[in-house]
Symmetry: C2
Subunit: 200 residues, 2 copies
């Protein structure tokens, strides 16, 4: 009876409208600019009441960033999927690189537009950083599992945080690179630098 693996029919519908909402918010904001979009527009676009919109997201920014946050969270699963005998840093590096579109660019213009929007619009910067922080926590948990540490310890969270910084920085440089540069290369550079030690 279940079309997907998650049983609840109701939950699937919820996630579906939530995704539609976030998608509509992103699309409209890219088209018109952040403050030329009213909540009513987003709700209408997704076929829902404006009031319902606020049952899913408590701010415009939250709706827009949600997709990006979801994607960032998956990085934790990719880390978990790495072979257990791999050294931690190699596993993390490989996971991040694999998660960010292996080696050749498939820019996915819709997604890059989203990233560029987040970094451009000041009203979204805060929410973006919150999303990165949440993703870092998820990664820290995965890393802690892997090395058998407490998720509240310093080391796993430090590693996760450093990876987050590298990702953010690589993304930003990638967006503003005048001769386009593959994202994977930037990521690898940043991660290698962190892995090798900043004191040199």
């Amino acid at each position: 009876m279940d079309t997907t693996r998650t049983g609840g029919l109701r939950e699937r519908k919820k996630e579906q409208t939530r995704a539609a909402l976030s998608w509509a918010a992103l699309r409209l904001t890219v088209e018109r600019g952040f403050d030329n979009v009213k909540v009513e527009d987003i709700a209408t676009e997704a076929g829902v009441s404006p009031r319902t919109y606020n049952n899913y997201f408590s701010s415009k920014a939250e709706a827009i960033v949600w997709r990006h946050l979801n994607r960032a969270r998956q990085a934790a699963d990719v880390i978990r999927a790495r072979p257990a005998d791999e050294p931690l840093w190699d596993a993390v590096t490989a996971a991040v690189l694999a998660h960010a579109g292996s080696e050749h660019d498939e820019p996915d213009p819709e997604w890059t537009a989203g990233v560029r929007l987040m970094m451009t619009e000041p009203a979204l910067l805060g929410e973006m950083h919150k999303a990165y922080a949440a993703a870092n926590d998820a990664c820290a948990e995965a890393i802690a599992e892997r090395i058998g540490a407490d998720p509240h310890d310093m080391y796993p969270r430090l590693v996760a945080g450093a990876v987050g910084v590298a990702t953010q920085l690589a993304s930003e440089l990638w967006l503003t690179a005048d001769p386009p540069v593959p994202l994977a290369a930037l990521l690898r550079d940043a991660l290698d630098e962190l892995g090798g030690g900043l004191a040199r």
Copy 2:
């Protein structure tokens, strides 16, 4: 005629009211909680019109975090003040440690309350992360100067970002440490780990 080094009489008055505003916002929010404080209260507390408040800060969160941001910016100057022959990482480490209350704790309860508030109240998290990002940019600029690199290069910004993560993480662990631990120790641990390389 000038009581301080910055000449403009007008500018000093501006910075003064801005500081008063930020201080009032912080104090009231610590006392009553974030959404039990109205802008009118903050403005009244600082002896200014509510309308004027919005000429200085465009949101409650911005006002509260402003002091913290200002303090974080100073870290860049501390880095610049380090002897030029010192290796980069040592200079950065020393600067951060010196900037965060050398070795023995002078908790400054007013300030710790502010930090705890920022990390507790979800409505402030976004603005806090934005502040850290701005501070990172300032530090990256100082670092770039020191090593004679372009501020837009990857390396200085990576170093600054890593330091920012270490600072954030150390602060958080410090606030939630059941047997109190000196902040400097946590900072040193995090920075050493980053300096020595995360691949081990």
